[in-house]
């Protein structure tokens, strides 16, 4: 029997090739989208799960409140380590202090490479469960040891055995390789950790690091913990809440609250607003999950619509089978079996599509997803997926087709009707509602990105190149390098700064000025800059003057931005003095000499933060900012710059970034979403149109005779076209009416998460409606015109 069913199903597929192509193709596309999204979701949800101690690892986070604004982050002060070990040592298996992940130069013989890594306490590698290839897990025991990842080992040593070899770090100090560990997977927060050095070494490298041991106000460190076997994340988290507040008086006014941020939340739920966890990437997990389901639904609707539209063709078979003795449930099984066959074929095609698309998808979504050939879970869930899709797509047609009355069907009085019934109309409306909502959503995301990109950023980022200067070798070389670069004719101006122009690495508070209100908790973005900073960036001076090398007093001068002037309540800030509020050992007071235009350094969606640009007296720069000579090509300039660089720093690799490209990276996540959303929208529309195309062709076929009669009676091609298209256009307009409020509501919610956002304008919605109608017309007209132009004699003769 089953063989018989499949035989009929298979011959049906072969007999109506066009129909089958639409049906299977649409379904395959939909399934491919769902599969890819499924793989993406799996990747997102399995983030960090590589770590065996996934459930026990947490990072210590701190919330502090300045002027009623609570900010939350991982930065904590050093004395916390002592407090934790003394008071709660038994709650944790590991307490691991860590530096931020940073790029350093690692040199072995002639090879000098820049690598990302950090400094950690001894328990770190064990906590992370590093997979040791050579050497020992306890590799941070000695103060001069370094653990490196396999890729780093390969880059430095090739086939040599790295264990026991000595590396030179940043051209400053020597470290001995004690272990090589397997690189951490891409979908973990420690992916970039390609070396680990001992924390004990880190805290001796600079004076301020040593001093931080007792400084509760210096939040410049990270602390990771692994819970002891018998302790519970939540109870420990609430136990440690007030540690800092209890132990330190000076910072109490900021209400520092500590908590454990569990590893399972790091990736997906990392947003905090006013001290409360407010989600994060999880919203995109939901978004794409829903998109995937909808695209699959669209494809299933196609299947249902086309199957039921063809019902007249199948009705005779139903009648015969019933008259021969088939029961309804046997017919239902038969039709479900056919759906299953179609879905299985579509699934195989979908897998092929996924394999073809996976690389581009990875590029687009910045992932390294591989096809899970060997994953049993994947194949098991695929089977469930196929069965669910078969049921979703097949059950309505099966119930519908099997319900035919054999007497009517065999007598030939059975007619499926024009558009055949409400269910099909409802399904077309659902399809187009989803498609139109997708169109609107995508347009708004694109508009928001464009809006933020068009925002004036206060300086000229074109033709600006930055060179990282993190190595100690750069100290004291600024003036020399500036002369060299300017003389080389490749650079027309140059400056240095302690943060890149596209970020702020440091914030400071604790200043007073004349009109400062009582109890005002000041907080500024702080950037140490060379005097030529404004000039090299083409940053406009709005009041006062720029730094000048002619005034020796400028070593205690600062520039502030417009926002800072407003923030401090100064209508005429030039000449105002900023005093250090530390009474025991105050730094000399700083004088505001000028106000510069607001410069977007952080998020392009947020207001610019109040910032102080201070004269860099110690040459502690992190970046050189080079304004290239517009007279030469960029490659010419860079070649010259590299030569100059190599002359002075022969041991350091020449690294540089174009500032405009760095700035562009701020939009990465939104651009990524926009691209993915555009693609999924296009596919959703394509699938819906495929269905509509199939549906029109059946309607046209059913009405062949009617069209013939109408034409004989004098209907023009236009009349017939109008008649056939009208119904569908009505449905699409109805879809738009439903889709607009839904998408308005959802997109408004999305935009609210940005401070600096585009306002929703009516033309977006109009554009989506017009687009949907045009697409529908094009799809429908192809078949409608074909039917309308056919010679009535042919269609009437067939009866």
């Amino acid at each position: 029997m089953i063989k018989n069913y499949f035989k009929i199903a298979w011959r049906n597929i072969l007999r109506s090739k066009g129909y089958s192509a639409i049906n299977i193709g649409g379904l395959a596309l939909g399934m491919a989208v769902t599969l890819i999204i499924g793989l993406w979701l799996q990747d997102e949800l399995s983030y960090n799960k590589h770590f065996t101690n996934y459930n026990e690892i947490a990072q210590v986070f701190q919330s502090q409140t300045f002027n009623g604004q609570t900010s939350t982050g991982p930065a904590i002060p050093r004395p916390l380590e002592r407090a934790f070990r003394d008071r709660y040592g038994d709650k944790f298996k590991h307490i691991v202090m860590s530096s931020w992940q940073n790029s350093e130069y690692l040199k072995y013989k002639d090879i000098n490479i820049a690598r990302e890594g950090n400094f950690m306490q001894r328990g770190g590698p064990e906590m992370l469960g590093l997979d040791i290839i050579a050497g020992e897990l306890d590799g941070l025991r000695e103060i001069n040891s370094i653990m490196i990842s396999a890729s780093t080992a390969n880059a430095l040593f090739g086939t040599e055995d790295p264990i026991g070899k000595v590396l030179k770090v940043n051209n400053e100090y020597n470290m001995m390789v004690t272990a090589v560990y397997k690189d951490l997977p891409f979908n973990t927060n420690f992916h970039g950790l390609t070396y680990i050095q001992p924390w004990e070494h880190y805290i001796t490298t600079e004076e301020w690091l040593k001093e931080a041991e007792t400084n509760w106000g210096n939040n410049s460190f990270q602390m990771f913990v692994q819970l002891a076997d018998n302790s519970n994340m939540e109870s420990v988290s609430s136990a440690i809440q007030y540690v800092k507040k209890d132990l330190n008086e000076d910072t109490r006014e900021f209400n520092p609250l500590l908590f454990l941020f569990p590893m399972k939340d790091w990736h997906l739920r990392s947003n905090f607003e006013n001290g409360k966890q407010t989600g994060g990437r999880i919203q995109y997990v939901w978004l794409f999950g829903i998109i995937g389901l909808f695209v699959l639904l669209l494809a299933c609707i196609n299947f249902m619509n086309l199957s039921t539209a063809r019902s007249e063709k199948r009705s005779k078979e139903v009648g015969i089978r019933k008259s021969i003795g088939s029961q309804r449930n046997q017919l239902i099984n038969q039709f479900l079996g056919e759906s299953f066959l179609v879905v299985v074929i579509a699934y195989v095609l979908a897998i092929l599509l996924v394999l073809l698309a996976l690389n581009s998808f990875n590029d687009l979504s910045l992932k390294q997803i591989r096809f899970p050939w060997t994953s049993l879970t994947f194949w098991a869930s695929s089977l469930i997926f196929v069965i669910i899709t078969s049921l979703l797509a097949g059950s309505y047609p099966a119930l519908y087709l099997s319900s035919f009355n054999p007497v009517e069907v065999l007598k030939g009085t059975f007619k499926a009707g024009k558009l055949a019934g409400l269910p099909r109309k409802v399904m077309v409306v659902i399809q187009f509602t989803v498609s139109v909502a997708f169109i609107i959503g995508t347009l708004i995301v694109l508009q928001q990105i464009q809006f933020a990109k068009n925002r004036p950023i206060g300086y000229d980022k074109e033709g600006l190149v930055q060179i990282p200067t993190l190595s100690q070798d750069f100290i004291g070389k600024y003036d020399l390098m500036r002369m060299e670069f300017l003389n080389s004719n490749a650079v027309i101006e140059m400056s240095s700064s302690s943060s890149p122009t596209t970020n702020v690495w440091s914030n400071r508070s604790g200043y007073t000025w004349e009109s400062k209100p009582e109890g005002f908790q000041d907080d500024f973005a702080w950037i140490d800059v060379a005097p030529e900073f404004a000039k090299s960036l083409n940053l406009k001076i709005l009041a006062g003057r720029d730094f000048s090398r002619d005034f020796s007093t400028d070593s205690t001068a600062v520039l502030i931005n417009e926002t800072a002037a407003k923030y401090m309540g100064l209508s005429n800030p030039v000449g105002v003095q900023l005093k250090d509020s530390d009474e025991e050992d105050p730094d000399p007071p700083l004088t505001i000499i000028g106000v510069v235009e607001d410069m977007v350094m952080q998020s392009p969606y947020d207001p610019v933060k109040q910032a102080i640009y201070a004269f860099d007296g110690y040459g502690e720069s992190s970046y050189y900012n080079l304004r290239l000579n517009p007279g030469n090509s960029a490659s010419e300039n860079l070649e010259i710059v590299e030569n100059v660089f190599k002359k002075h720093f022969p041991d350091l690799p020449f690294e540089y970034q174009f500032v405009d490209q760095e700035y562009e990276r701020k939009f990465r996540s939104e651009v990524r979403i926009a691209r993915l959303a555009s693609i999924f929208t296009a596919l959703a529309i394509l699938i819906s149109c495929l269905g509509l195309f199939g549906l029109t062709s059946f309607v046209a076929e059913q009405r062949t005779k009617e069209i013939g009669v109408r034409k004989v009676l004098g209907a023009s091609v236009f009349n017939v076209w109008k008649m056939l298209s009208k119904d569908f256009i009505g449905l699409v307009i109805l879809s738009c009416i439903i889709a607009i409020p839904i998408s308005y509501y959802l997109m408004n919610g999305w935009l609210e998460s940005y401070t600096y956002s585009v306002s929703l304008s009516w033309w977006i919605f109009a554009l989506a409606i017009i687009g949907a109608i045009i697409i529908t017309l094009l799809t429908v007209s192809f078949q409608a015109l074909k039917a309308a132009k056919s010679n009535p004699v042919n269609s009437l003769r067939t009866e």
């Binding site: 029997m1 009929i8 078979e317 015969i320 089978r321 021969i324 054999p406 065999l410 030939g412």
Partner: protein, 220 residues
Amino acid sequence: MLLELKNVFKWVQSSSNPVFLLKDINLQVREGEFISIMGPSGSGKSTLLNVIGMLDGFNEGEYNFMHESVHSLKEKQRANLYKEYIGFVFQAYHLLDDLTVEENLEMPLLYKKVKSGERKARVADMLDRFRIVGKKDLFPAQLSGGQQQLVGVARALIGNPKLILADEPTGNLNSKQGEEIMDLFKQLNEEGVTIIQVTHSEKNAAYGQRIINLLDGRMV
């Protein structure tokens, strides 16, 4: 007694008044009879045949088939009953276009859950008997009308039914083909199969032993 209809009424509700399709039908059919139902278009011939074949229901009256009260049976039991004892032959043949001759013949046996070996044997037997062995792999569209109806009769017969219901079996055939089919019916009847046919043609009706005339749903 093979089947008996007592005071059977069937109607459809149109705008206000019911329209009667069958009115007070009383009919007894003994095993081995060959009955022709005649009457003008719309007189209810096909409706009666469908009611007998249990494809259609009725509104009032009693229907007993081989001592079973059809009117009180559930759909599934009814289907089992006619699957077992009744074979249909249609004017438009109604073969499944997607199946070959052989597969069309096999289908009723599949629904009766006959085992594979026996199925093969009975299909081969039937192909042989109707002399269509050479056509077994062809699809219906590749056959002439007469040949298709031959397959239709063979399919009705393959389940060894007690009763064959034929709705204008020669209506789409030319006279020579029609004659062949009627001869076949006659021969089957002689072998013991009960046959009820609906027909317009006096000549074909004459093959039967008894003629039932219908007018406006009533037996006359």
